[in-house]
Structures are given as C-alpha cells and as structure tokens.
C-alpha cells in the first residue's frame, strides 16, 4: 500500500539517456499489457495475460477483478456444457476435473506472489474468494483437500513471519471453513480448536515474544472449554495451567510486553467487569480474591533484582487496584500504590501524562 523499509537513496546520479529510454519502453510494455487485459474477452488467454500483469503488479486490484469475472465465466461454461450432456444435478467427472484444474492452477499461480508480497491484501482476498466461491461447487472431499492445503500454507507463512497479520487472519478463516465443511451434514460435530490450541503452544515455545500467538490462545481457550463441556474444576485447572505457563515465561523475559499483555488478559478472569467473557466466568468472589492475592505475591517476588522493570510496577498497580475493588477495602495499600506510580513516573517518563492522571485519581482530594 505504501513504502515501508525502503532505504532512501542519496545523491542518485541523473538518469542517462539510455536509462530513460529503457524506462519509457517498460512503461509502454506495461500499458499495452493493461490494454490487452481489458479486452472484455473472458477467455483462458486473457486469464494468462492477467497472470503476467499481476506478477508485475499484484496491487492492481481491478485486474484481480478481471480474473474473477473470467473464472466465473469459465465456470458457467463448464456447467452449461455438462448440462448439455444429460440431465443431472451433479457435475460430471470431466467437468469436476476441469474446474478442479482451473482452481488448483490458479492457487498455484499465486504462491510465488504471496511469498514475494506477503502483506498484499488483494492476493489474500482473491485467494479466499476463489476458495469460498467457485471451489464451493466442487465435491466436498475436493474442497476439504484444498482447504487442508491452505492450512499448511498458513503454517508456512507464519513460520516465515510469526507475526504476519494476514497470516493469522487467514489461518482463522481456513479453520472456520474446514469446520464448516465437516459439520455441514451429519450431527457428529468436529472442531479444530484443540489442534489450533496446540499450534499456539508450539508457536509460543519457539518464541515467547509472540503476542499474536498469545492473543489467539486467549480467544481459543473459552471455545475449547465449551467444546469440552468443561465444568468448574476443569476450568480452574486450565486457568492454573495458563498462569503457570505464563509465570515461567515472565521469569524468562520480564521486559517482554507481549507477556504482560497476556497477563493482563488472564487477570480479567478475576475482574467482575470482564469475567463473563473469560475462561472461568463462574468463580466465586472469594476465589477471585484468593487468586489475585497469590498473583500479587508472585509478581512482587519478580521485583527483586528487576527494580527498573516498568511492567512489574504496572502489573502490581493493576492487581492491587483489583484487589481493592474486590475486597471493598478503600484504604488498602493505597500508599504503596502511589509509591509505585511515582516510581513509574521516574522510570517511564514517556508516559508521565498517564501516571500523573493516575496519581490525581489515587490521591485523596
């Protein structure tokens, strides 16, 4: 969409006559390719031309639309030619094969583009459209095979860039499609939440500082517990396992903001304002208080030797405020909280406006 991370070329020498002529030739070539594509012939030949043009410039969204119109047209042709052969509601084998080829060739064509331009929205959108639209008329097993390939593609993209926004979004859509396909007809429901949950564990083990993986985890866990029909005990067990996993991670990297955001996320379980959407919505008031107290102690322990780690203070402040709300004890630790905020004001001056606002709120009028 725009220039990112391209170094500024300083003191570029003026272009030679030859370079200018070469550039002019390229421009002519590019423009004549565009003219050739926009010829209104919805044929295989035009499809090939769009491939050439999109390889040159995958951001040219209107050309992806030309491609869509051609695919729709070819699809319609295949259907009508099949119907001419006999009255059948199913595709003949030949028509299925032709359509299958069309789609898998198209998917293959995009692969090098995705590798080269992993952040180009238009390629991902076109790919999804192809899979959700035209491929939807294929037999179920073919569709399933296509989507499974996509799952491994998403995996590959994320192993190259574990924070790729499009990659994670695409992965969620692929999973939803696979679940839709397997839950369409029979009443035996099959979900992929468990394996996706394991996938986030794998990603976190490779690199703790992967906020995308932690985030996905926070979305998957409540679903997972519902699918497992988890009772109170099972939910508490999951919660404790997560707290422990995160605690270990925090000891390894106390300056990693991804981990502290996941910590904040887990603490929502104990906050009446957020608990309803958490993995353990039914904890008793007393249980919440006990968990928060234990968490305060654990985080407090981390402070030793890490007195310059702003995240620890921020967490202590949030936890103590939560504890104060839960216990209804208005003067609980307020002096200590103010001290922590003052420390933050010193070690985190970028955000002093935020700390001053907080101080004003905490100090008795």
């Amino acid at each position: 969409m725009s220039t990112h991370g391209v170094p500024r070329v300083s003191g570029e020498p003026p272009k030679s006559e030859q370079d200018r002529a070469k550039e002019a030739r390229k421009i002519r070539e590019y423009k004549s390719l565009i003219d050739a594509v926009q010829n209104d012939d919805l044929t295989n030949e035009t499809l090939t031309l769009t491939s050439r043009l999109l390889t040159w410039n995958p951001e040219y969204y209107s050309i992806w639309n030309v491609r869509r119109r051609i695919v729709c047209h070819l699809l319609k042709e295949m259907t009508t030619s099949t119907q001419a052969e006999g009255p059948s509601t199913y595709r003949s084998d030949t028509s299925t094969e032709a359509l299958s080829d069309l789609i898998s060739n198209d998917l293959k064509f995009q692969l090098p583009l995705l590798r080269k331009f992993p952040k180009c929205y238009w390629i991902w959108n076109y790919r999804l459209w192809l899979l959700e639209g035209p491929s939807g008329t294929l037999p179920k097993t073919n569709q399933q095979r296509l989507w499974e390939q996509e799952l491994s593609l998403a995996g590959k993209m994320l192993s190259l860039d574990s924070r790729n926004f499009n990659g994670w979004g695409y992965r969620r859509k692929v999973i939803a499609a696979l679940e839709r396909l397997s839950n369409g007809s029979d009443d035996h429901e099959q979900w992929l939440t468990e394996s996706e949950f394991e996938y986030t564990t794998k990603m976190i083990n490779t690199n703790l500082s992967n906020f995308s993986a932690w985030h996905n985890r926070s979305v998957l866990i409540p679903r997972l517990l519902n699918e497992r029909r988890a009772d109170r005990q099972a939910r508490k067990k999951m919660l404790e396992e997560e707290l422990e996993l995160l605690q270990r991670a925090l000891w390894a990297g106390d300056n990693d903001s991804s981990l502290w955001f996941y910590h904040q996320n887990l603490m929502c379980t104990f906050d009446p304002q957020y608990a309803a959407r958490s993995m353990a919505p039914d904890l008793s008031h007393h249980e919440r208080q006990t968990y928060v107290k234990a968490e305060i102690e654990k985080v407090h322990e981390m402070l030793e030797g890490a007195e310059d780690c702003k995240w620890i203070y921020q967490s202590l402040i949030q936890l103590n405020m939560l504890h104060k709300n839960l216990s209804g004890d208005t003067c609980h630790a307020i002096g200590q909280i103010i001290q922590w905020v003052e420390t933050l004001n010193k070690i985190d001056p970028l955000r002093s406006g935020r700390w001053n606002d907080l101080l004003q709120k905490l100090r008795p009028q």
Binding site: S2, V9, A24, Y30, Y61, F165, W168, S257
Partner: protein, 324 residues
C-alpha cells in the same frame, strides 16, 4: 491531476541527524506538487491503483501546510469525477473498479475543496447515488461493510462508510446500531479492536473502530483507560510509535495511535515532544517528503500522516486537523 504514490527520489541522508530540526514546509509543498509531473517514471504507472488516495493525502497535507491552493482546484474536481462509475462508486483512477476505499477518498477530496455539489452535475445521480452505493455494501446480518461487490469485510470499510456518509449528511441511510454492535464484537480485553471478531488488536483497526464510534456518537462504549494504556505503550524510546506490541515504530502508525488517543482525550499519555522529533527526523530535508522511519524513502502516504500527526500535536505553523 494525479500524484504518484510510490517511493520518492531521495535527497542526502548523512546517517546523522541535524541538530536544529525544522519542518521544511516549502520543500514538502514542492515535493507534493511535483508528484503529478512524474509520468516518465515506471513507478508512477505502477501506483495508479492508489491515485485517488494519493490526491487525498497530498491535498490534505497541503491544506495543513497552509497551502489550500497548492493543487489546481478545477483539475482536482475533474479528476475525482472521472473516477466515478455508473453505480455511484469511485475507482482509484479512470478505468479502475469502484471500491469503498476510493469512494471515501473521493468524497473526502470533494468535501475538502467544498465541491460536493459537483456530484449533482448532469446524469451523475447526485450524492444520493453515492450514498446508495455505500449503503449497498453493508451486510444485513453483521452490520459490517464490504470493500466492493466481491465481498471482503474489514472494519476499515465500516469506518470509511461512516466517514463518507457523515460528510454527505446521510448516516441515516445505513443501520448504524448494527454496525456499532459489530465494532463491539471486535473489542479485545486489552481495550483495542481487531479487523474482525477474535482478531488481535492493531493500531490501524483501533483508529477505524474508534473513529466510527466517534462519528456514531458512541465513544461511551470504549474502555478508555485500558485502550489509552495500550496505545500509550506503542511509544518507543526514540519517540516513534508502533502498531502492535514488539513491532517497529513508523510514521503512519504514529498517526493512527495519536488520533485514537486524541479521540478518547488521552493525547497527553505519550510524549508529544519526542514524537514530534521522530517525525521531523523522518523528513527528507533536502527534497521534501516524509518516510516511515528516519533514512527511508519518502512517499505521499507517510508525508500526509507525518504532517497530520504534527498538526494534531499542535506544531506551530500548521493548520489544526480533526482527529476523526
């Protein structure tokens, strides 16, 4: 009347920053004006799909720089109108397909140069036609908006729709309540918003969701302290802001974070002076234009967001900008 959106030609960058940092206003004005004259460059043609956005970015930057007449008004209006399709939507350039993103840019440009009546010209169907195009892209089931007839949904398009419709004073043409509940479904525990329900918080998406809520008059739904905290953590030690935790700082994200903070009245939760320095360091002092990061190639996109950010920070000599 069309500006190139690709990387700029670079001036000297010594790898060292000048002690006295100034906003090189005249250089930026020239840089933007020069963008339309680069038709002998392949890049000009390769970025045609951004032309209408480019005009909007350049025009807004010029307005903020105090040069509202920096681009020829009539030619600008003619170019915008030449991008309109039968169905009321606008493409990125003549011959490019209609899409929400460019329709919004078109309306924003016309509103900026006070020329929304140009839509009423013979046979165009007036603003009503544009309103219908936008309203037709709302999903009845989720309240979200698609980018075009091919049906990709993204909170960016929802914000775009709200923005254009409010400029056209036609917000009533869509189901605002349903769209608002879609935004609520995109909210995360960290106070931020993702591209769709369940997606990770992202500064760009936060800007679109908070912006849409601001237009709808529903900022009461925002978890302001929590979101403000998350947004303020985007500032890194060099003053620049990133888009998500553990990512690199960037001028465009700086704008999205900054304007979101402004909409929830927490602009002072980051260090404005340091951010100002960061943006000024991203300028090409010699040839004009602003880059994503110091030393990188400039483009009109980052030039616009850099100047918009400086304006929101109250930089002297710039016209004030509306955060939404």
């Amino acid at each position: 009347m069309s500006l190139v959106s690709g990387p700029g030609r670079g001036g000297q960058f010594q790898g060292q920053l000048p002690n006295e940092l100034n906003l090189v206003i005249e250089k930026h004005v020239e840089y933007i004006q020069d963008l339309g004259t680069r038709q002998d460059e392949l890049e000009y043609w390769l970025t045609e799909h951004l032309r209408l956005n480019g005009v909007y970015w350049g025009l807004t930057a010029l307005h903020l720089l105090g040069r509202p007449d920096g681009l020829p008004r009539d030619a600008t209006i003619d170019f915008v109108l030449s991008c309109q399709h039968e169905n009321g939507g606008f493409g990125a350039a003549p011959g490019h397909d209609p899409h929400m993103l460019y329709t919004v840019s078109a309306i924003q440009i016309l509103a900026t140069v006070h020329a929304l009546d140009a839509l009423e010209a013979d046979g165009r169907g007036g603003k009503e036609k544009v309103v219908q195009y936008i309203a037709g892209l709302q999903s009845h089931s989720t309240g979200s908006f698609a980018g075009d007839e091919w049906g990709e949904y993204d909170t960016r398009f929802l914000y775009g729709a709200f923005n254009a419709l409010s400029l056209l004073r036609s917000l009533h043409a869509v189901d605002v309540a349903k769209a608002v509940s879609h935004i609520e479904a995109c909210a995360n525990f960290d106070g931020g918003y993702g591209i769709s329900p369940g997606a990770e918080s992202h500064s760009g998406q936060i800007f679109t969701c908070v912006g849409a809520l601001a237009i709808a008059g529903r900022l009461d739904l925002v978890d302001k302290d929590r979101l403000g905290a998350w947004l303020s953590e985007r500032q890194l030690s060099d003053g620049g802001l990133n888009g998500r935790p553990e990512k690199l700082e960037d001028v465009c994200y700086s704008w999205w974070v900054l304007s979101s903070l402004s909409m929830i009245n927490r602009l002072h939760w980051i260090d404005g002076e340091k951010l100002t320095k960061f943006i000024l360091n991203c300028q090409d002092q010699e040839k004009g234009g602003i880059a994503d990061r110091p030393g990188d190639a400039v483009d009109v996109f980052h030039t616009h967001f850099g100047i918009a950010g400086l304006s929101l920070l109250g930089f002297p000599g710039l016209k004030p900008i509306d955060a939404v």
